[in-house]
Every structure is written in structure tokens, then in C-alpha cells.
């Protein structure tokens, strides 16, 4: 059924259609509307049986999800930013134990400086935690990915993060096609745990493993992610067959066939990028867009296959490994080993900085002319950067950076004298 609703509401309704039995909720922007929506659905009896547990922190949220999942319940939670960091230890436990929890990450920057707006720093910080990480381009894809995530995670007995851009998607009202309960039931079978804490058939879960088998347990986690590389496109294919639309999969290409330049990106910026390359295309510039929808497992072969015909690759990312450069770029480069392509990393949109079509077009034109720096920070305000560097060169006690920069741009007048 077509609906005009908020992205968070769409995800809440889609999660409810997956019949989770335990939902752990702790509020943090921009994820809050999702668990609020689920809370309403549980309270009204629309989603039943389901235990909605208000926990006292994100660490508790993931810990309760682990316990619930180990007891055989389909378990769900959602978080963002500092909340994801706060549950980090439990996140590794969930994947290490192989418990198929599904969690929405409403992508948001990490402080300090504190910032509630969107970028991908939070989920990228958990890149190596062993969870599958799927990225949504639109609210339609966000809701579809949750339905696919339960199926994928439970088949493999691995937890799945569905990443969607905070505010840009979570708070956007747009048209979505919401499946019916019967359609979701036909696609997603009931949860059959591989391991379960059952008093009738007791087991222990979470044994200490020493050097004799630890590497093997870790390798098996990798092997499962390798299996996911096969299952993700199959599940997306089955989904397309049943629901009539393409959502998920490993990568999706747009105008890449004869493209000389291909931009690689994740998440909601893909929409703005597609509009941008349409305009460049009408100017005769052959630019394509490759969306990565599964970041973990990283689809090395699919990325290589999509990019190898191009002359240059621009990775546009909302994440940044301080002291190195791009996070996604590093993986893309690995996929392109041995190929002689011009490669550029463009870091954009950190902390909610708007990514505009005009800036993208300008940056891509520079790339096409091979005049772009290998690592570019799109729309960086060099004026305030240089001013701070000068300040630090001139004075030892140059003061707190964030406050200095805000004062330079006139955003605050915190200094009285």
C-alpha cells in the first residue's frame, strides 16, 4: 500500500511486519522516532506478541537483545552515534556469539564536538565488528532492507545493521510502498535458532576460547560473511520477485555501462548524485554512479566488475579515517588492485554539512579534468581552518578549537571581553 509517511515510521511499521518478539529501546536522535513508533504498535496491540523493553542505556539495549536472541526470540533495537559507541562491547559479543539481532543505525556524526547531524562515522567505527552492514538509499529501501535483514541474519545466524542516514531519511516524509503482513509472512519464515537457551535441552553459550580454537571461531565468522556475499543478491532477487522492486543487493550501478568516470557512494547521497550525473550526462560527460548497498561483507568482486571499465573512480564518502583519508576508499582501492585507474577520495557531508548538486558537479568536473586532489574535503571552509592554524602557530594557549571556529564564523559570542 502506498503511503506518505516519515522514514522512521516506515521502518517501525516494516519491523513490526517482521514480527519481532523483543524490542529494546533507548532514545537517541535521530533514531528515536523509530522505537517510539514501535512502542505505539506494541502498546496498541498491533504488534503482538512482543515485549517492548525500555532499557537504561544503549549498553543495556544490546545486552538485552543478546539475551533475548539467545533465548530464541527475534530481537530488534535501534541506535545512533554515541549510542552505538556506548554499546560497542556488546556489539562484538552479539556477532561473536552469532546471534541474528537486527539493529537500525540512524547514521549520525560522533563527537566531540557534539553534533546531532548525519554522517557515517558511527557505523564505520564498527566496520570490523563482525555485523553485516547494509546501507539504504531511500526510505523505501530502508524499510525493504529491514525485511531482508531478518531473513539474511537468521539464515546465517549473524547480526545485521541496517544503516540509514539520520534526519535526511529518518525525518523525511516520502512515498513508500508498505507490504502487507501476508506478503512479509510469505517472504520471512519464523525464526529457527541454531542455538537456544532452552531449559528442556540445556546448553551454555559464550564459552571462553583459548588459542586452540579462537582463530577458527573468527574464521567461521568471516566464512559466514563470505556466504552472505552470495545470499544478499539472492535474497534481493527473491524480494524483487515478490514485491516488484529492486532493494538491497551488493551494489547497484547507474549509468555505469559506458562511463569514463564512476562515483562510488553509500546511502541517501546516491539520489542527489544521480540527479547530478544526469546533468553532467546532458553536457556529454560520461559519469556513472555505483551505490554500495552491502558494506560488510564488502563486495570486492562486484565493485571491481562494476569499475574496471572506467578511467577514473571517485569515492564520495561521509566518513573519514583521521590520519589516512577515506574509509570506503581504502576498500574500493583493494577491489581495484592491479588496475591502473585514477582514484580520488572526496570526503563530504561530515556532521550534516549539506551535499549540494552544485558542489558535486563542480567536484566531479575537476575529477574529470584530473585536477582534483587525491583527497579532497568538499566545501571545506579554508578561511577558518587557516585562521585556527595561524592562531596555534602564534600562541601556545590558543584555546579550544571548536569554540574558536564558532567565534570566527560568528555563530556564538561566548567570549565576553
Amino acid at each position: 500500500m502506498q503511503k506518505q509517511i516519515e522514514g522512521s515510521r516506515a521502518v517501525a511499521e516494516a519491523v513490526a511486519l517482521c514480527r519481532p518478539e523483543v524490542i529494546c529501546a533507548y532514545p537517541i536522535s535521530p533514531q528515536t522516532h523509530i522505537v517510539e513508533g514501535l512502542g505505539e504498535l506494541v502498546k496498541s496491540g498491533t504488534l503482538t506478541p512482543c515485549e517492548f523493553i525500555n532499557v537504561e542505556s544503549e549498553f543495556a539495549a544490546m545486552s538485552v537483545a543478546i539475551g533475548a536472541s539467545a533465548a530464541g526470540a527475534r530481537s530488534y533495537t535501534a541506535t545512533a552515534s554515541q549510542g552505538l559507541l556506548f554499546m560497542a562491547e556488546a556489539i562484538y559479543n552479539a556477532s561473536g556469539l552469532g546471534l541474528p539481532i537486527v539493529m537500525t543505525v540512524a547514521n549520525r556524526a560522533i563527537g566531540a564536538p557534539i553534533n546531532i547531524w548525519n554522517d557515517h562515522s558511527d557505523s564505520m567505527s564498527q566496520r570490523d565488528c563482525g555485523w553485516i552492514q547494509l546501507f539504504a538509499e531511500s526510505n523505501q529501501e530502508a524499510l525493504d532492507l529491514h525485511i531482508q535483514a531478518f531473513k539474511l541474519g537468521e539464515e546465517l545466524s549473524m547480526p545485521v545493521m541496517v544503516c540509514m542516514d539520520g534526519f535526511i531519511l529518518t525525518h523525511a516524509y516520502e512515498r513508500v510502498d508498505m507490504p502487507t503482513q501476508a506478503e512479509v509472512d510469505a517472504f520471512l519464515p519464523g525464526y529457527e535458532p541454531r542455538q537456544v537457551l532452552d531449559p528442556a535441552d540445556p546448553v551454555s553459550i559464550g564459552a571462553m576460547v583459548g588459542p586452540e580454537a579462537f582463530m577458527e571461531v573468527r574464521y567461521l565468522a568471516h566464512a559466514k560473511q563470505t556466504m552472505a556475499l552470495e545470499r544478499i543478491p539472492q535474497i534481493a532477487g527473491e524480494f524483487a520477485q515478490r514485491f516488484g522492486r529492486n532493494s538491497g543487493g551488493l551494489v547497484r550501478a547507474y549509468r555505469c555501462e559506458h562511463a569514463e568516470t564512476i562515483v562510488v557512494a553509500l546511502g541517501s547521497v546516491l539520489g542527489t548524485l544521480k540527479d547530478t550525473v544526469d546533468e553532467l550526462y546532458s553536457d556529454g560527460l560520461k559519469v556513472g554512479v555505483l551505490g554500495i548497498h552491502s558494506f560488510r561483507p564488502f563486495p570486492l568482486a562486484a565493485v571491481r566488475a562494476a569499475l574496471q571499465g572506467a578511467k577514473r573512480v571517485v569515492v564520495l564518502e561521509k566518513s573519514f579515517s583521521v590520519g589516512l583519508g577515506g574509509v570506503v576508499s581504502t576498500d574500493v582501492r583493494l577491489a581495484l588492485s592491479g588496475l591502473q585507474l585514477h582514484g580520488y577520495t572526496v570526503v563530504a557531508g561530515l556532521g550534516g554539512r549539506a551535499i549540494t548538486k552544485a558542489s558535486l558537479a563542480r567536484t566531479l568536473r575537476e575529477a574529470i579534468a584530473d585536477k582534483l586532489q587525491p583527497l579532497t574535503f568538499m566545501d571545506l571552509d579554508w578561511r577558518i581552518v587557516n585562521r585556527q592554524l595561524e592562531r596555534e602557530a602564534a600562541t601556545r594557549r590558543s584555546g579550544p578549537i571548536a569554540e574558536n571556529l564558532l567565534r570566527d564564523i560568528g555563530a556564538v559570542a561566548s567570549k565576553v571581553h
Binding site: 506518505q4 516524509y173 551535499i355 549540494t356
Partner: protein, 196 residues
């Protein structure tokens, strides 16, 4: 694509206004995307909200920089924020005020635009009458329907009932209808003045 930018303050229902406009457009079979710009989530702080309407899927997710329509819910922003920034030459402007553009001190600025597409409506007063609360968003949407003809009053009423229920919904529907009639009448007077 039609791009609408709302200016108001935290607590005035500006984000809800953009959301309701998107629902109204959806009701008319169109694609729409509404989204907020959360500058600071404080009551009284300047807030922006956006709505794009098109006949095909909307992919663009940048803030609205060159609006076709400005709906200004709080006229005290006129001299605090550059609300007219990027407004298209044939754009629409609807200001929530009992005062004219000249009286509001923006008479010179709006000379650059088509005067029959610029108007004010006492949306707060209308809202107070029907809701006993100074929440002008629904009335402004009714006014916009009248000013532009780009959405129908029926679709606006539908969107209001989608967002609210009971007395609040009906009060807002009545406010939207009164603002619609107010602006229709104003436009009619304008046409008559022209023919005279």
C-alpha cells in the same frame, strides 16, 4: 519540480506544515518529499522546513536553495534571517501577518517579484479563532492552496486529518478553509482593481 521553503520558529509547527503539504500532494497523486533542517531544536529558534513536489520520484536531497514558494510562518524572522534568499523570480510568498508587505518593511524587496503571487494572511488570528491556539500552519496551507492553485483545499483538509484527529483536526480544517476564502477574496479584489 515545485520547491517550497517554510520559515518559522521551533514550536510553531513549521516541520508539520511541510509534512502536511507533502501528504496533500501525495493525496493528489504526486510525488513529494518533506524534510526539516534541524538548526537547533529549541522553542523559538529559527527553523526551516522544506517540501519538494514533482510528477516523478524525487531523488534530490539537498536543502531547498532556490525555492518557488516561501511560506513565512513568523514575520519576526523577516529582519533576522534572509528569508528571500534564492527565491525564483516568479515565486510565491505567503506571510503570516495582519500587516502588508510595506508595513512589514519588505515592500522594496518584494518589488522584484510578481505582486499577484505575494500576499499576507492573518493565519495566527484565524488559528486562534478555530483552535484557541496560535498554531498557524494549517491556515497557511489553506492560504497557499488559494494563492497558487497548486494544491486543492480538499487535499489540505485530507492531510490535516491524516496528521490530527478529533477536534484538533476539525479546528485546523476550519482554519485552513477560512484562510483559503480570505485569500480567494483578496485575489478577487486584486483582479477587480486591475479591471477598474
Amino acid at each position: 519540480m515545485l520547491q517550497v521553503r517554510f520559515h518559522g520558529r521551533g514550536g510553531q509547527g513549521v516541520v508539520t506544515a511541510a509534512e502536511m503539504l507533502s501528504i496533500a500532494a501525495f493525496e493528489q497523486g504526486r510525488h513529494a518529499m518533506a524534510f526539516p533542517s534541524f538548526g537547533s531544536e529549541r522553542t523559538g529558534a529559527p527553523v526551516l522546513a522544506f517540501c519538494r513536489i514533482d510528477d516523478r520520484e524525487i531523488r534530490l536531497r539537498e536543502p531547498i536553495l532556490a525555492p518557488d514558494v516561501l511560506i513565512i510562518q513568523d514575520p519576526t524572522l523577516l529582519h533576522q534571517v534572509d528569508v528571500f534568499q534564492g527565491l525564483q523570480p516568479d515565486g510565491y510568498v505567503l506571510i503570516n501577518s495582519t500587516r502588508s508587505f510595506d508595513e512589514l518593511g519588505v515592500g522594496d524587496i518584494v518589488k522584484r517579484f510578481r505582486h499577484e503571487r505575494l500576499t499576507n494572511v492573518p493565519a495566527t488570528e484565524i488559528a486562534l479563532k478555530h483552535l484557541s491556539r496560535p498554531v498557524a500552519n494549517a491556515a497557511l496551507l489553506g492560504g497557499f492552496a488559494a494563492l497558487s492553485g497548486l494544491i486543492t483545499l480538499d487535499a489540505v483538509s485530507h492531510a490535516i486529518r491524516d496528521k490530527f484527529s478529533g477536534k484538533v483536526a476539525e479546528g485546523n480544517v476550519a482554519a485552513a478553509a477560512e484562510a483559503f476564502d480570505y485569500i480567494k477574496k483578496e485575489l478577487l479584489e486584486l483582479t477587480h482593481a486591475k479591471t477598474d
